[in-house]
């Protein structure tokens, strides 16, 4: 499977729509996800990421449009699709009445994995997520990071060729987050297709080959993370914290630098291919409180979804 570039997509969505009553959560989106790639859905809360992903792993029916998963139409009753998918859910849905090992054992039943095989896989997976010394621990006694890792182990029990991770690192400390990223990258190297939804731009940059930015149920942009940053923002960002009274004067003074600009709250942003000459001018003008930094996915995200607070 490694390095295999298949031409038919593993997942193909055409004009996909999801409605809950009068609310349209996913509004006519189309995308293809290729085998072996890591595909990210980015967007603020309520953008429609989770709703989209739930249709892919067949727990939520498609309102209209077409959604094919591994050549089969996604459908709530399709046990075949569910059998090939590993889900790392957004909420911690571990069985709190059971121990670590019982959690995995029960899940192995759900996937019809024979007992002996299940035991072998559980040993391997507990090793993989570094939980083998917690086998008989109750779920309450695990830290959030451990619970998230156990969710990953659980998602891998059925040896899925597609893993869906729905905000897998929400609420984790940096150590735990990096461990999860490492594991997900390791899986990708083994040829597993990965779908990731996240609000963390760093996470998308770390893991995704391709992303879509969603907002209000629509896909706003699609592309490779670095290319998106370059085409949407440029290479550098200059942030100047200055009163908006000065905007006009300042923008005029910097107008020949061919940088885009935007005022948000107390900050004037300049988006540049090369911030060097702009910085020189800023120093000449003796302006303080200036930050020159590389452009990031977060800038793309904020530009596309708006910098103001989304309610």
């Amino acid at each position: 499977m490694i390095g295999l570039q298949s031409t038919t997509p593993l997942i193909a969505a055409k004009n996909l729509v999801k409605r809950f009553g009068i609310v349209t959560a996913v509004d006519d989106v189309s995308f293809d996800i290729m085998e072996g790639e890591c595909f990210g859905f980015l967007g603020p809360n309520g953008a429609g990421k989770t709703s989209t992903v739930k249709m892919i792993h067949c727990v939520s029916p498609v309102t209209s449009g077409e959604l094919m998963v591994n050549g089969m139409p996604a459908n709530v009753n399709n046990r075949k699709i569910k059998k090939m998918i590993g889900l790392v859910p957004q909420e911690i849905t571990l069985d709190i009445d059971l121990t670590v090992i019982e959690n995995l054992m029960v899940f192995a039943y759900f996937f019809d994995i024979p007992r002996k095989e299940a035991k072998k896989r559980i040993d391997e997976l507990l090793e993989f997520v570094e939980l083998n010394n917690k086998r008989d621990t109750k779920i309450d006694e695990l830290s959030t990071g451990m619970k998230r890792r156990l969710l990953i182990a659980r998602a891998l029990l059925n040896k899925p060729n597609l893993i869906i991770a729905d905000e897998p690192t929400t609420g984790l400390d940096p150590q735990a987050r990096h461990l999860i990223w490492q594991r997900l990258r390791q899986l990708k190297r083994q040829g597993v297709t990965l779908i990731l939804t996240t609000q963390y731009m760093e996470e998308a940059e770390q893991l995704c080959d391709r992303i879509v930015v969603m907002n209000k149920g629509k896909i706003l942009k699609e592309g490779e993370p670095l290319k998106l940053v370059e085409s949407e923002i440029g290479r550098e960002v200059v942030e100047i914290r200055i009163s908006s009274d000065e905007d006009e004067k300042l923008i005029r003074a910097l107008s020949d630098m061919s940088c885009g600009h935007e005022r948000v709250g107390d900050t004037l942003y300049f988006y540049c291919r090369d911030g060097h000459s702009l910085m020189k001018k800023v120093v000449e003008l003796d302006i303080h409180n200036v930050l020159n930094r590389p452009a990031s996915l977060e800038d793309v995200f904020l530009k596309l979804t708006g910098r103001s607070l989304l309610e």
């Binding site: 009753n77 859910p89 069985d95």
Partner: protein, 255 residues
């Protein structure tokens, strides 16, 4: 109805988690019916004289047996299922596996039924210790089958309630306004003969009335034609409740 053998896996999951609560639940499911047996059976029984040649306990035990099955399976599929659905998100992880929503709900109905059976058997043991036996071993086995049959009915009825429950308080309406009154209108503690006609008609709409009739007939070995009707009514109620319980719960789980 997308049902499969995976119902068993859901049942098994419940059985594994049950290990931790087994003794407390034994106590709880014994508690109420046990007091009924002591207070009504021995206390009131002393004033009742003989019922058809046998002590009042022979009248009371088959009724209390079946109502303890009712209570246990009904409560398991209300509180138990609700906790698993809302607080533990168990169904969310179940339906993401090859276990369908229907499997999960039917598995919980099977579990509620099992809890009912356990309660019924415990009561039977208590009754036997008090010297009150079913008429034969065959009848004892028939009684166990009846308990399963009645358990499925009340577990399914609770699923209908749970499908609409916004919170725990909602369940007290059902248990206080439906289950508890049913206990007193279904001929568990005294025969319905002396009731006014309208109350007798009313009692016919209660599934427990029919369940108690059958239970008593099996326990005492006194059969009549009427039992066929009792059974048919229960059967129809059960099929409808099972189907509706699963459909309505599925509507809540899959959006």
């Amino acid at each position: 109805m997308n049902l499969s053998y995976r119902i068993y896996y859901v049942f098994l999951r419940n059985l594994i988690s049950y290990k931790r609560f087994i003794f407390t639940t034994f106590l709880v499911s014994l508690g109420q019916p046990f007091f009924y047996l002591i207070t009504f059976g021995i206390g009131m029984g002393a004033y009742m004289g003989a019922f058809g040649g046998k002590s009042y306990l022979y009248f009371l035990v088959p009724g209390v047996l079946i109502s303890s099955v009712m209570m246990s399976s009904a409560f398991e599929c209300m509180y138990g299922t609700f906790v698993k659905m809302i607080h533990e998100h168990l169904y969310d992880s179940l339906i993401a596996t090859p276990v369908s929503a229907e499997d999960s709900i039917a598995g919980d109905i099977a579990w509620g039924t099992f809890r009912g059976l356990v309660s019924g058997v415990l009561m039977l043991v208590v009754a036997i210790m008090m010297g009150v036996f079913p008429v034969s071993i065959v009848n004892l086995i028939l009684l166990l089958i009846l308990m399963v049959f009645v358990g499925v009915l009340f577990a399914s009825l609770s699923m209908i309630v749970t499908a609409f429950a916004p919170n725990f308080d909602f369940f007290s309406y059902y248990s206080e306004l439906v289950l508890t009154p049913m206990l007193f209108f279904s001929g568990v503690f005294f025969p319905l003969d002396k009731f006014p006609a309208w109350m007798k008609v009313f009692a016919q709409f209660m599934p427990l009335t029919h369940a108690v009739n059958i239970s008593r007939a099996i326990f005492l070995g006194t059969y009549s034609r009427e039992l066929i009707l009792n059974f048919l009514i229960l059967f129809v109620m059960e099929v409808i409740a099972f189907y509706a319980g699963i459909k309505l719960m599925k509507r809540r789980l899959i959006k």
